[in-house]
């Protein structure tokens, strides 16, 4: 049996997720024996022609050309897996979805008429069917290896569906909200990082995006009512690397409208 072929694709992103593959120092040589790495621009000049058995896609869609390119990638890929917050939720650049993109290009570039860009940064799944989404900013190396080995073995990848809170308890970390009153997105964020920030006394800031069916409204109401976090800060807390994930986006908008209503009431 010939080795399955693997392709790695980059859209608008920082390269951190595909670099995680190169950061799998101990496993990289083994991996290279098990799969034919056929398209991985970060590491190799060789480009085998498609189709590919597996495509890993990093980055979000921000230009008309990329909206075309991802359809091509889908058409030549057997299994398509998106990796990281950019690919699964539009990434940090989705913050521009809230603003006027013309204002951006005018601010940054002397000749904005040469900039061709879409108004929004969107996830891959908003453009083509995706077979599996691996979350994180960046993705965790062990999870990436789990996904690749599951595919090789023909089984479903095992990634945790629960909240960061569970990981916090497992490693015996003190709850930063209960003990220190620090706002934390752990209760609504998908596990995977090992509760890295709460273990160092920082609130979780949601790198892995929303868990399955998160109760975002309940958490944000309690942060507001009990810890005194104001609406603007709550909206900002939800608008980082996964700002365009539907659950985070909806709750941030709800906080915006509560703030707007209060503003109106006072004037």
């Amino acid at each position: 049996m010939s080795r399955p072929s693997l392709a790695v694709w980059k859209f608008a992103s920082c390269d951190g997720c595909q670099l995680s593959l190169l950061s799998a120092e101990d496993e990289l040589l083994t991996l290279a024996e098990e799969v034919h790495i056929a398209h991985f621009l970060e590491a190799t000049r060789e480009v085998a022609p498609g189709p590919y058995d597996v495509s890993l896609v990093e980055g979000s869609i921000t230009t008309p050309a990329d909206a075309e390119r991802i359809r091509h990638v889908r058409s030549i890929s057997g299994t398509l897996i998106t990796i990281g917050a950019c690919a699964t939720a539009g990434g940090i650049q989705a913050l521009r979805n809230l603003a006027d993109v013309e204002a951006y290009t005018n601010l940054v570039y002397a000749h904005p008429e040469y900039v061709s860009t879409l108004a929004e940064s969107t996830s891959i799944a908003q453009h083509v069917p995706v077979d599996f989404e691996l979350r994180g900013c960046p993705v965790e190396v062990p999870q990436l290896l789990e996904v690749v080995s599951a595919l090789l073995a023909g089984r479903k990848p095992v990634t945790p569906p629960h909240a960061v809170c569970l990981e916090c308890k497992l490693r015996g970390a003190v709850c930063v909200m209960v003990a220190h009153g620090t706002p934390c997105l752990g209760p609504i964020t998908q596990a995977g990082c090992g509760a890295r920030c709460p273990a160092f006394n920082r609130g979780c800031y949601g790198c892995f995006g929303p868990m399955e069916t998160p109760n975002t409204a309940s958490l944000s109401d309690r942060l507001h009512d009990e810890l005194g976090v104001d609406d603007d800060d709550l909206a900002r807390l939800l608008r980082t690397f996964n700002a365009d994930a539907p659950e985070f986006r909806a709750e941030a908008r709800r906080r915006d409208s509560i703030a707007a209503a209060r503003e109106e009431a006072t004037t």
Partner: protein
């Protein structure tokens, strides 16, 4: 002005470096331009964010050198709070930056350039990559992988994570260093020091085979900008800036990076999403090229008299004996990188012996005390500036990022112009050999295009040959 209209949406493929070669009336190469074509918009979408989020937000500019953005961002926010960070935090940040220099340079050398250097520029492209090198020279690749792992673990010991870590924060670092972390780093030192020295031996042994490349690849006079201590010792994060000329003359010394706008202008290039800074005092008029300067490993070793560590200095002396006090060829960036890996490992070893590393407090606490703050550090690829403005509540009102690759842009253009003149003689002459050499010329600078665009590594390229009237008369694309 057809000849500047090169970011054509029809031909633009994001993730491709685009290069245009401009012909003069006689059909010879008049100019070559390197373009960057991705746009993410950090300068704008950071507006309205609280200042202490900035290190973590701007780290997402780049997954290759996130620590550089974490450090420059943290230093800029230190300036907004007008704090001097505690000494052990200074040491931890220095440690993280040394780890960053090691892992990034090792990635550049082993994963990207070694296949060209060790298998030969003319070898089969199907095996001329890190996986091909694994098959041919597994021990060398294993050494590279281990060296990079060391750098990443040093980073993680301070930043909690290899990529986008949260341990480097406004006012210092999040946690005191521990003896367990120190012992883990110390456990690596003998192996990685020996590996780094062996890497130098390998590079030095093949240097003679690349005499042509050394002569053609970006061997020209330019200014060099980097951090440097007053006594001429190599520096990578703290202190002030030095600029020297090709003759080794010091042009500016101990300049406060906070005042960088007095030194550097940013030319509004029409044809790239990369901003191209220049040295202001040398530019009079619209052409920024007289103000061309280079940053990164080559600039740092040219500006410094010495590394201040024994084995790195011994090899720096060898390089100077062969190529002169100032190394002017861009090809020698490879050598400068390996020297910096050795020096960084020796500096890390010295830090491990410093008892202050293990002390605390590690974080200064303060609110907004200044409305503008600039942070600078030496990223692996060169001097990085983060410039933030805030309102009285500490919310960001303005951001300017000046990245290393942008600062090398004028020099990269000059380099590929020289290479194109040597290897391209008309529309029928855009051969694979010419493309490979143009690519290798760009790669000598190890451009981190994520900081405004795409991956390093194999460089997907679009090369266009443009006639004086703007007509594209030849087009080669390599995916």
């Amino acid at each position: 002005m057809h000849d500047i209209h090169v970011i054509d949406p029809v031909t633009r493929i994001e993730g491709h470096a685009k290069i245009t070669l401009h012909l003069d009336d006689g059909g010879s190469i008049a100019d070559a331009r390197f373009h960057v074509t991705e746009f993410r918009g950090f300068e704008e979408f950071c507006r309205g964010r609280p200042l202490d989020e900035m290190p973590a937000l701007t780290a997402r500019t780049c997954g290759i050198c996130p620590v550089s953005h974490l450090l420059a961002g943290a230093k800029a926010t230190d300036a907004l709070c007008a704090v001097r960070i505690p000494p052990p935090a200074v040491l931890q940040r220095r440690l993280a930056n040394l780890g960053q220099i090691v892992q990034s340079h090792v990635l550049s050398f082993f994963h990207l350039s070694a296949p060209d250097l060790l298998l030969g520029m003319e070898s089969d492209p199907a095996v001329r990559n890190v996986f091909g090198l694994m098959a041919a020279e597994p021990e060398i690749v294993r050494r590279g992988i281990r060296l990079r792992q060391f750098g990443q673990e040093v980073i993680a010991s301070v930043a909690f994570d290899k990529i986008h870590g949260g341990g480097i924060v406004t006012g210092g670092v999040a946690e005191p260093f521990t003896t367990a972390k120190r012992d883990a780093v110390v456990g690596w030192l003998d192996e990685v020091h020996a590996s780094a020295l062996a890497t130098w031996d390998l590079l030095w042994s093949v240097t003679d085979q690349f005499a042509d490349e050394i002569a053609i690849f970006g061997d020209f006079d330019s200014l060099y900008l980097s951090h440097c201590l007053p006594d001429g010792t190599w520096e990578h994060i703290d202190g002030n800036l030095r600029i020297t000329g090709a003759d080794g003359q010091i042009v500016v010394d101990q300049f406060d990076p906070a005042d960088y706008l007095e030194l550097l202008g940013e030319s509004g290039k029409t044809d790239s999403y990369l901003k191209a800074p220049y040295y202001k005092p040398y530019v009079d008029g619209d052409d920024p090229r007289p103000g061309m300067y280079r940053v990164g490993p080559l600039a740092r070793i040219n500006n410094a008299e010495r590394f201040g560590t024994p084995e790195a200095d011994a090899r720096l002396a060898l390089l100077r004996e062969r190529f002169g006090r100032t190394a002017t060829s861009a090809f020698l960036y490879h050598h400068a990188r390996v020297l910096e890996v050795i020096a960084s490992i020796e500096r890390i070893a010295a830090l491990m012996d410093d008892p202050e590393l293990l002390t605390w407090p590690v974080r200064a606490d303060a609110g907004v005390n200044a409305l503008r703050g600039v942070g600078a550090s030496e990223a692996p690829r060169g001097t990085l500036f983060h410039d933030y403005s805030v309102d009285r509540q500490g919310l960001i009102t303005g951001v300017n990022l000046v990245i290393a690759t942008g600062q090398n842009d004028l020099a990269i253009n000059r380099t590929i112009t020289d290479i194109a003149r040597a290897y391209v003689h008309g529309p029928d002459d855009l051969t694979d050999g010419a493309l490979n050499r143009i690519e290798a010329g760009v790669r000598a600078y190890d451009p981190c295009l994520s900081c405004s665009t795409h991956a390093v590594g194999q460089m997907p390229m679009v090369v266009e040959l443009v006639a004086p009237d703007g007509e594209v008369i030849a087009h080669r694309r390599r995916d």
